[in-house]
């Protein structure tokens, strides 16, 4: 007998405890499949997440390596004097900590250092797991970062040296000596190096009497302009006149009291313009004059003077070391006459030059530390 109730089931209790009974399997299937999808999704997310984490770690490690390398290059390349024990740079969201260790320090020879740079970088999203890479390189501290070329040097088109009382008000004659006046009593290298009396960039006409202009040779002319003197001396004029290049004294304000500071100190002093020093500005060390250098009566200096250019050297002044001019410009004439006294003093030049030492990386000595 046919009935409209051919399927029967136990009535499921309604949620409210009454109503029509419910039955079926779709919900169960959907629940099972949703669970399976959830498991697969979670696993997939886990894999993708791990991959993303690995990728970030690799990026962090690469960034740390870049920072370490940048720190090393910056330390070795930035304008500086001497060797610092430790310095930390903040670079592009991370840091590079650079330290040095002295490896060799023999009297009279160049010092050798090991320079180590540690780059540290953390992705801001995972700042508790920073990456760290370390690179190292050997570097030499150049003790004599330039070549002495003369008691006086100029790149002027004409460099005139007059052994005569050119102006009627003066009674003495100029003296320029390229032969070393220092001795072993001054320093172990004293008396060991003679240089040109007058190193002339072009020097079309030079008048002199042999008695008061000496050197080996007495005169070297036709050398060239600012580029030539920079090449001959090995000095980087743009570096020395860069305001970032550290000096002991900038300008004339607060000029050192040379009677009060240690007698063996040779400060580096830079004048960012022209300078016309008299006795007030006498002293010792390295004097860098960016533009015109024209000493006045009473000026006395032990060491090295480097100037953009110098036109008149006639005052009653004395330099024991060397005066190198013409790094900044080629002028028409440099005059040397009357009472200028310039003696090449190798010990003073050496001591002054040592204030300009810098680190130079040694080829084939780079390594990464693991």
């Amino acid at each position: 007998m046919c009935t409209d109730r051919f399927l029967t089931a136990e009535p499921a209790p309604s949620p409210a405890g009454g109503g029509e009974p419910q039955g079926g399997f779709a919900l169960a299937v959907v629940m099972v499949l949703l669970f399976a999808i959830g498991v697969a999704g979670a696993t997939g997310y886990q894999i993708v997440s791990q991959e993303a984490q690995l990728s970030i770690q690799v990026q962090e490690a690469n960034q740390a390596m870049t920072l370490a390398q940048a720190g090393l290059y910056r330390f070795l390349g930035e304008p500086t004097r001497g060797v610092r024990d430790s310095v930390q740079y903040s670079l592009d969201g991370g840091t590079a900590t650079v330290t040095t260790r002295l490896i060799k320090d023999v009297e009279g020879e160049e010092k050798i250092y090991s320079v180590r740079s540690v780059g540290n970088f953390a992705d801001p999203r995972y700042s508790n797991t920073p990456a760290e890479r370390t690179v190292t390189q050997v570097a030499i501290q150049r003790q004599m970062p330039f070549t002495p070329i003369g008691a006086v040097a100029s790149t002027a088109v004409d460099s005139y040296y007059y052994n005569s009382n050119y102006t009627s008000s003066r009674s003495l004659w100029p003296v320029v000596q390229g032969n070393d006046i220092s001795s072993a009593a001054d320093c172990s290298e004293g008396g060991s190096l003679d240089v040109d009396g007058f190193w002339a960039g072009y020097g079309h006409t030079i008048y002199f009497d042999a008695d008061s202009l000496t050197g080996t040779p007495v005169v070297a002319s036709g050398q060239g302009g600012p580029g030539a003197i920079a090449a001959a001396t090995g000095l980087d004029w743009s570096l020395l006149t860069d305001t970032e290049y550290p000096v002991d004294q900038e300008g004339t304000l607060g000029w050192p009291d040379f009677g009060a500071i240690p007698s063996d100190s040779f400060p580096v002093i830079r004048i960012n313009g022209s300078f016309y020093p008299g006795s007030t500005f006498s002293g010792r060390g390295v004097l860098i004059v960016r533009d015109r250098f024209r000493p006045a009566d009473g000026f006395d200096w032990d060491g090295l003077i480097l100037a953009g250019y110098s036109d008149y050297l006639y005052a009653r002044m004395t330099i024991r070391g060397a005066l190198l001019t013409g790094f900044g410009a080629t002028i028409s004439v440099t005059w040397v006459y009357d009472e200028a006294r310039i003696y090449f003093h190798y010990c003073n030049v050496l001591e002054a030059a040592r204030q300009l030492t810098y680190l130079e990386p040694v080829d084939n000595s780079w390594a990464e530390l693991f």
Binding site: G44, E51, V58, I103, S114, I140
Partner: protein, 280 residues
């Protein structure tokens, strides 16, 4: 007893079928994504790890380091320890080693080299046991006499025994020295994954170990010479001394289940230029 009518049952079955189809489709799509993600992860990680490893090994190679530079293989003197001579006593050389000796495996040592002030390297075949490299207060003390700062770094100063008189030119204080490995890389048929190319690594003359697998036939090295802009597949003769960069090129493949397009292979190609930092 309550029950379903035929109409109710048919509607329920139809709806269930639609739901099951939808859910199954989503499930298999998810599964496919999972499979692809796994493959992608595997291949990319393989590429990344091998690139990093090779880069870290080759970047410290310096001038005159390459002995073989071909598309499918290279042979290079890799510095295991690089340092600076700080004292000489008799036939022994005392040096500050930048990396220490922690990473030096005795069996890997193929010899030592010294670089004179002109920049030229001289290499000498030797063994770790013969060099008898040792660190400690003795070397530190000798280097201290040369002005070295040894405070807290005694273990970084080493002695290389019996090397001075066996070499020409003879090392001097301030020269760069290294203990090197004769490292050999080679692309050839993979033993781990048949039908693909593997990258093998080891000491020259020894049985090489498969470092990475699953690459295609285009995998290889190329080389750039100093002053040049192009990469060469092979470098020979005196040009070996001018290599300044190595390019590693490879395509990695991984095979999984068939996707909807009928493809079951995931490919990932990459190129890494390795600048030799000790050449610059």
């Amino acid at each position: 007893m309550a029950g379903f009518t035929l109409i109710e049952a048919l509607v329920a079955v139809t709806l269930s079928a639609i739901l099951v189809t939808l859910v199954t489709t989503v499930f298999f799509a998810q599964n496919q994504f999972y499979s692809e993600a796994t493959l992608r992860s595997h291949v990319q990680e393989n590429a990344r790890s091998v690139t990093q490893f090779v880069t870290s090994e080759l970047q410290s190679a310096g001038t005159e380091a390459f002995q073989l530079a071909e598309n499918r293989q290279l042979r290079v003197r890799k510095p295991l320890a690089l340092g600076i001579v700080c004292a000489i006593a008799g036939d022994d050389v005392h040096a500050y080693l930048l990396q220490g000796s922690e990473n030096v495996v005795g069996n890997d040592v193929a010899g030592w080299g010294v670089r004179d002030t002109t920049g030229a390297w001289a290499y000498y075949t030797d063994t770790w046991s013969n060099l008898n490299v040792s660190s400690g207060s003795s070397s530190a003390f000798r280097c201290e006499n040369s002005g070295a700062d040894t405070v807290g770094a005694t273990a970084d100063f080493f002695r290389l025994r019996n090397v001075k008189n066996s070499s020409e030119p003879k090392p001097e204080v301030g020269w760069v020295v290294m203990v090197y490995q004769d490292l050999h890389y080679q692309f050839s048929a993979s033993a781990l994954e048949t039908g693909t190319i593997g990258l093998y690594r080891g000491n020259y003359g020894d049985t090489l170990v498969e470092l990475s697998t699953g690459m295609t036939a285009n995998a290889g090295f190329r080389y750039r010479l100093a002053g040049d802009t192009t990469f060469l597949a092979t470098v020979t003769g005196t040009q070996l001394d001018s290599i300044e960069a190595v390019r590693l090129t490879a395509t990695a493949e991984s095979t999984g289940q068939l996707d909807r397009t009928g493809d079951n292979t995931y490919s990932y190609g990459w190129t890494a230029d390795i600048l030799l930092k000790n050449v610059h």
